[in-house]
């Protein structure tokens, strides 16, 4: 029995660990370090219709237990991702979750329609939460009605299940989750980064050229745990959790909160081997806490009366 196997809409995962979008490129760099087939899935870098260069540098700044980034969705564009990156990734036995981004609704629809046809794309991750681009991105992720409509439009054209990536930069995350559920989302991924800023002590000016950036890393983990705890009990959708995951213990905590799989982001920069390491450590951790299978852990934090959430498998 594979104790780490997880089944989610569109996704047969040999384990619940995957690199988060934007932290793994299209896998080429990490493929030099380990066999990507070890991963549960890969969330590839956000793809837009046209190529994007992204923001000027500096694009990253360190913070206490975290980092700010403002890359700006740099990517080679839909044509190249479909024509080069996805075919290259097909050599690995790993499902791909394609992160879809854009400035207007038509962009999202165009990317979703095309990229969901690729044979190794098992699901889409609708990026309505990037804080580092001027239009689109987070704008779609902060107004429930807009998020719902966009989800609906993308669902109409996508050939694979659609997960919507929620932004933590909202007053009511549950309201957003319910909106995308009403729009027909098959799952939720959360959380994207929190908008933050750092100033240079000498100049008094922002360190990032974009002024603001998205905060990630261990610093944001408690926010992610809280939001997953709330959302998982309010909607009937599976959640792929993310936000500061750096250890196998973190994975367990995310499952307790209500996640059914977990993505690793910033930790890949600190230790490029972190994903296979966590996968290797998980079985011993299940033993330690007396679990047979990873999926029985989902929602351990929920109250007994809270039975209306997504299956506990």
């Amino acid at each position: 029995m594979n104790r780490l196997q997880v089944k989610l809409p569109g996704l047969q995962l040999k384990n619940p660990i995957m690199p988060a979008s934007g932290c793994f490129g299209f896998g080429r760099e990490y493929s030099n370090l380990y066999d990507l087939s070890k991963l549960g899935a890969i969330m590839i870098k956000a793809t837009t219709v046209e190529p994007r260069f992204g923001n000027p540098t500096p694009r990253v700044a360190e913070t206490t237990s975290g980092m700010l980034n403002a890359i700006g969705l740099q990517n080679p564009g839909l044509k190249k991702v479909v024509g080069e990156e996805l075919p290259w990734l097909s050599q690995f036995d790993v499902p791909i979750i394609a992160n879809v981004a854009g400035s207007v609704e038509e962009d999202y629809v165009a990317v979703a329609k095309e990229i969901s046809k690729a044979s190794n794309v098992a699901a889409l991750e609708l990026n309505i939460s990037c804080p580092n681009v001027k239009t689109g991105g987070i704008a779609f992720g902060t107004i429930p009605e807009v998020a719902k409509e966009l989800t609906k439009k993308v669902k109409e054209v996508s050939e694979v299940p659609v997960y919507v990536k929620l932004s933590p930069n909202v007053t009511n995350i549950v309201e957003m989750a319910k909106a995308v559920e009403a729009g027909g989302a098959d799952g939720i991924t959360m959380i994207n980064t929190l908008v933050g800023m750092r100033l240079d002590l000498k100049t008094g000016q922002p360190i990032l050229a974009n002024k603001t950036g998205g905060l990630s890393g261990p610093a944001v983990k408690p926010v992610a745990i809280r939001m997953i705890y709330e959302v998982s009990q309010a909607v009937n959708l599976p959640i792929i959790g993310m936000g500061g995951v750096s250890t196998a213990e973190d994975v367990l905590e995310f499952f307790y909160a209500g996640a059914s799989a977990v993505a690793v982001g910033t930790a890949n920069f600190v230790d490029p081997f972190i994903c296979p390491k966590i996968i290797e450590e998980l079985p011993a951790l299940l033993d330690q806490y007396g679990f047979e299978h990873i999926s029985e852990v989902t929602g351990r934090s929920w109250g007994k009366h809270e039975q209306f959430a997504y299956h506990r498998a």
Binding site: E29, R59, E62, S65, P218, A219, F273
Partner: protein, 259 residues
């Protein structure tokens, strides 16, 4: 090949004001075969500081399986690193990036090595390799002031060496380019590492020469995945084409990328 290894400190000492010289030993030294590459260092086991620090390799000793780095202990991470003493360990990822092309300078030719401040260290391994293959080297090293100057004698033992300081406390007062003009230095290939304004100036001054420069940029992963350290290419300065400083560089030929 990139390796991750817990290396051991052989020696660490302050060789100028806040300028640390750190020698480590580890098996990954066998992967270091060109001057100008860097390693990515995790300075603590905790989440503070979180990210690795890119530091260039100054000297490689294959026989002793050691490599030496020189860095300024100024920020949170490098100050912590500066406290490591012999026998302690440091988490190293590397070697990373593409170094200086030694083969561009032929036997009997002259290489001009121009370093600015903490950009000087990678030029030292380069100088040794060039001299070993029979290239004549001339070094021009620029510093803010005498108290932060280092390695003058080491370079002087390999070739003619000139010092420039901004305040004139050591060598010529002014910038490295002032020395190059005053001394009318001739060369076949120029290799440089230092502050971007210095590199820009060299690129502008010698548009028709073979000039190789090593860039510095804030990095995330150091292996090409995060897109933090990108720059525009010179043939498409406002378009979509780009180079990553960490994996396409840090050494570029002038005219290749926008500084």
């Amino acid at each position: 090949m990139i390796k991750n290894e817990i290396c051991t400190v052989v020696e660490q000492k302050e060789i100028a004001e806040n300028i640390m010289e750190l020698t480590l030993t580890g098996e990954l030294v066998s992967e270091m075969n060109e001057p100008g590459q860097f390693v990515h260092i995790k300075v603590s086991d905790s989440a503070v500081p979180l990210l690795r620090r890119p530091i260039s390799i100054c000297r490689i000793n294959q026989d002793r399986k050691t490599f030496t780095m020189i860095y300024r202990a100024e920020g949170e991470g490098t100050k912590l690193l500066g406290k490591k003493t012999a026998g302690e360990t440091v988490d190293i990822l590397g070697p990373l990036g593409n170094g200086f092309p030694v083969e561009e300078c032929k036997l009997g030719e002259t290489a001009l090595l121009v370093g600015g401040g903490i950009g000087v260290p990678p030029l030292y391994e380069l100088a040794n390799r060039l001299v070993a293959k029979g290239v004549k080297i001339v070094a021009v090293l620029g510093f803010q002031t005498e108290s932060v100057a280092f390695y003058e004698e080491k370079f002087a033992s390999l070739g003619d060496t000139y010092i420039a300081t901004v305040d004139g406390s050591r060598g010529t007062q002014g910038f490295v380019t002032d020395v190059i003009f005053q001394e009318k230095l001739e060369f076949d290939v120029l290799y440089s590492c230092g502050p971007t304004p210095m590199l820009k100036n060299l690129e502008k001054t010698f548009p028709d020469k073979k000039v190789f420069i090593s860039l510095e940029e804030r990095m995330g992963c150091g292996i090409g995945a995060c897109f933090a350290c990108v720059c525009h290419t010179a043939d498409d300065p406002t378009g979509f084409s780009y180079k990553k400083v960490c994996t396409d560089g840090p050494v570029f030929k002038t005219g290749e990328v926008v500084l």
